[in-house]
């Protein structure tokens, strides 16, 4: 509210309904690898990694399959098996992505990777970051973190960015002990002043368990109101430190580094047992899914392979990858999921929005926007292709949260308008 001031470091946002069914109720369900996988060599829009294997090569879990020219994007095999070749697949975010096709060995021959367990202190920042990259862990702001002393405050994010997605909270709940150990080690390795572990206030039992582990450790547990999109790193920093991340900056500009529970778990795996990231956890939702919940699946499964692990209750009509407010639809069951896909909703109905109408100036988008943008003005600019003065409206502050679309009574595609302005401001 405008006149109540900003009590949580940012204004706007909306309380969305709590998840029903609550996919965080049950532990992550592990699954077996299917007979054939297609491991995509690019997650999002970046250049695809170059394959390092030839057809006929035998691979083991953790074998390096591809590496990007700059050495940052590394792709590992999740299973033991034989490489069949490199084909092109569609991912939710991009079409025609090269992928390594692996025929996996029968379950009996899937030996567990024999990593060397590492229980001591973690290496210092620079070494830790290169270790993470070598194991395919995607760290936010990796280059900046590698500089000693860049991180003053670590924020471990146990909340999920998308509504009803529960990957982070469930990963945290499943591995409380090792994750808290990892947080303590990370704190020491980066020489941080403070570490906060953030969970939603709607999960008091998890907060209690975490608080029980606090004594003798250098971090504090913060239970926060989960007002969407509070879990966005910029807003977490604002709420916890009172510092606003500059428009072109990252949380590190405020001395804070936000790492979510899943990434911390991957990092822990890389450092403590030397296992690279080749499996990922995904929340399966929607009325066409028989048993919604969190599933641990190997990288390189198609939507259909993933959904069939949870059972299909009805013919899927609409499949959404990512959040309900800002995700994308998936063209069909043969789309291959990348490991950045954390949430998949399969619906047996595809409800249509009414056609866009003229803006009625209700102001809902302005009040809901967590960063104080004027989405309707930016949308107008995009609509009329007038970007000359769009820069002054700071479109690049947009967090792509989709709340403006969510609240608009005229069903205007506001977020797309803002993004469009963003692109023009950047290039122009």
């Amino acid at each position: 509210m405008g006149i109540c001031g900003k009590s949580r470091g940012w204004r706007g946002g909306v309380f969305l309904l709590p998840p029903r069914p609550d996919t965080a109720e049950h532990p992550v369900c592990s699954t077996r690898a299917p007979a054939r996988l297609h491991i995509p060599l690019a997650q999002d829009r970046e250049t695809a990694a170059t394959p390092l294997v030839e057809p006929g090569h035998t691979v083991k879990p953790g074998t390096l399959l591809a590496e990007s020219p700059d050495g940052n994007g590394r792709v590992h095999s999740p299973v033991a098996g034989v490489v069949r070749g490199v084909i092109h697949v569609d991912t939710p975010y991009r079409q025609h992505v090269p992928a390594v096709q692996v025929e996996s060995a029968p379950p009996g021959q899937q030996e567990v990777p024999a990593g060397v367990p590492h229980t001591g202190d973690w290496p210092a920042a620079a070494e830790l970051v290169s270790l993470a990259i070598a194991h395919g862990v995607i760290l936010p702001d990796a280059a900046a973190v590698a500089r000693a002393g860049a991180v003053n405050r670590i924020i471990v994010n146990g909340m999920d960015t998308a509504p009803r997605q529960t990957v982070n909270v469930r990963t945290l709940a499943d591995h409380v002990e090792p994750l808290m150990l990892a947080a303590a080690r990370l704190h020491a390795a980066l020489r941080a002043q403070r570490t906060d572990v953030v969970v939603s206030r709607t999960r008091p039992d998890l907060a209690a368990v975490l608080r029980g582990l606090c004594p003798g450790r250098p971090f504090r547990v913060r239970a926060m109101m989960n007002r969407y999109p509070q879990a966005h790193p910029h807003l977490l920093v604002a709420a916890l430190t009172g510092c606003e991340v500059p428009i072109h900056g990252s949380p590190l500009d405020c001395g804070a580094w936000v790492i979510d529970a899943v990434t911390l778990w991957n990092l822990y795996g890389a450092v403590a047992s030397g296992s690279p990231v080749a499996w990922h956890t995904i929340t399966l939702l929607g009325d066409a899914v028989l048993t919604p919940g969190n599933y641990r699946v190997p990288v390189g499964l198609t939507v259909r392979q993933v959904v069939e692990r949870a059972g299909l209750a009805a013919t899927p009509q609409r499949i959404v990858a990512g959040g309900w407010l800002n995700g994308v639809t998936v063209a069909g069951g043969n789309v291959v999921l990348t490991r950045t896909t954390r949430c998949l909703t399969v619906q047996s109905r595809s409800g249509r929005r009414p056609p866009p109408a003229a803006c009625i100036r209700c102001g809902a988008c302005l009040e809901a926007c967590p960063v104080g943008l004027d989405p309707r003005a930016l949308y107008d600019r995009a609509e009329q292709n007038r970007f000359d003065r769009a820069e002054r409206l700071h479109p690049r502050a947009c967090l792509d949260c989709g709340l403006c679309d969510y609240v608009c009574p005229s069903s205007l595609p506001l977020m797309r308008g803002v993004q469009w302005c963003c692109e023009h401001v950047r290039s122009g």
């Binding site: 405008g2 006149i3 940012w10 204004r11 909306v14 299917p34 007979a35 297609h38 084909i87 509504p163 910029h234 606003e244 991340v245 500059p246 428009i247 198609t302 259909r304 392979q305 013919t315 899927p316 009509q317 609409r318 959404v320 309900w324 407010l325 800002n326 639809t329 998936v330 063209a331 069909g332 069951g333 043969n334 291959v336 909703t345 595809s350 249509r352 929005r353 009414p354 056609p355 109408a357 803006c359 009625i360 100036r361 209700c362 102001g363 809902a364 302005l366 009040e367 926007c369 104080g372 943008l373 004027d374 409206l393 502050a397 679309d405 969510y406 609240v407 009574p409 005229s410 977020m415």
Partner: protein, 392 residues
Amino acid sequence: MSDPADTIVPSPAWPRTCAADESPFVTSGASVERTCWLIAAATLPVLAATAWIFGVAVLGQFAAAVAGAWLGERLCRRFLVQGGRGRLPHLIGLGLLLAMTLPPTVGVLVPLVGGFAALVVGKTLLGSLGNYLWNPVLVGWAIVSVVFTGALRPAQWPFLARDHQGTGSLWAVTGGPGYRGFELSPPPPGVEAWAAPRPVDVLVPQYPPLFGGGGSPRPLLEVFRDRLPPWSDTVRGTVGGNMGETCAIAILAGGLCLTVCRVARWTLPVGALVAVAALAAIWPVQIDGPGSPAVWFPLSQVRDGFPVGIALVLFHLTGGGLLTAAMLIAPDPVTTPLTNRGHLWFGVGLGVLTFLFRVNGLSLGAAYWALLAMNTLVPLIDRLTRRRVFGT
């Protein structure tokens, strides 16, 4: 198990392609139609109260206004613009709100013309839903108040007397020095309605005119004791006034609904009421009749044990069109600012202008003219109340 090589044989449960929509895949449920229906529905308490206070026959005038708006809509659809969402609820709301700003004895022609003008001029010609600068209801009202000057300023303001509510006739009326308030005054035989002045019309001459013009003040105590019914009558609605202005309770109920449904924002009416109350509490007024000096801060004045200052403020709040304007007419989102803070300033401006218009002798429709003036300032308010972008 399937893989991309299987695409030629789709299994029965998996369609070849799924719907390709754009986000969001869930919405808050807000829609243009919902907003327009709610604004129309918020007049229902006032409609009920009006039927009770002025007789069910006046509902015909509401129907005439809606019919006028409907005719205008047909015409515009035919010759001017096609398309647009929420047209039906919008025209209904327009008609009902327009009729609320007219006297109960106005007949059917004025609301018919008013509804038509509101839709054709106020809405369509000035830019259609989303673009008009002035509230179309008030544009329609302004047009009829210029065209039918006499009809909007009747000689007397009747309302039904006790025991005749709902069914009585406004024409079997007696004018009233005998009227002591709803509870105290049963009607004389053969009379079904009382006529009493609008409370604000009575208060306006008490203020020393700023820009010439002559007030003819009486002692305030006499005004409250003899010329006005008790204040509770303005809450119940049994006072003289336009159809939608008298019953404060019904207006509040409608306005509250709009606020709870998040169509209106509470900051606007609160700003308006606080501004009017504050100004009425401090503005100099001639309390003791002709020749007496104007007293600043009338709020604390007591005469003969009667708190005239407090009564003055209360009548300012409920005795004219202010509540209707701030709670039911203003919430048209198109003609209000975008942010909560903007709404607050809009409300304050509305209250200040209403009060200034009143003390300068414009008692009828002061709040409506003030609202039109504030509508004009909306682009400015929007500019001044822009939110700071995070991280700048």
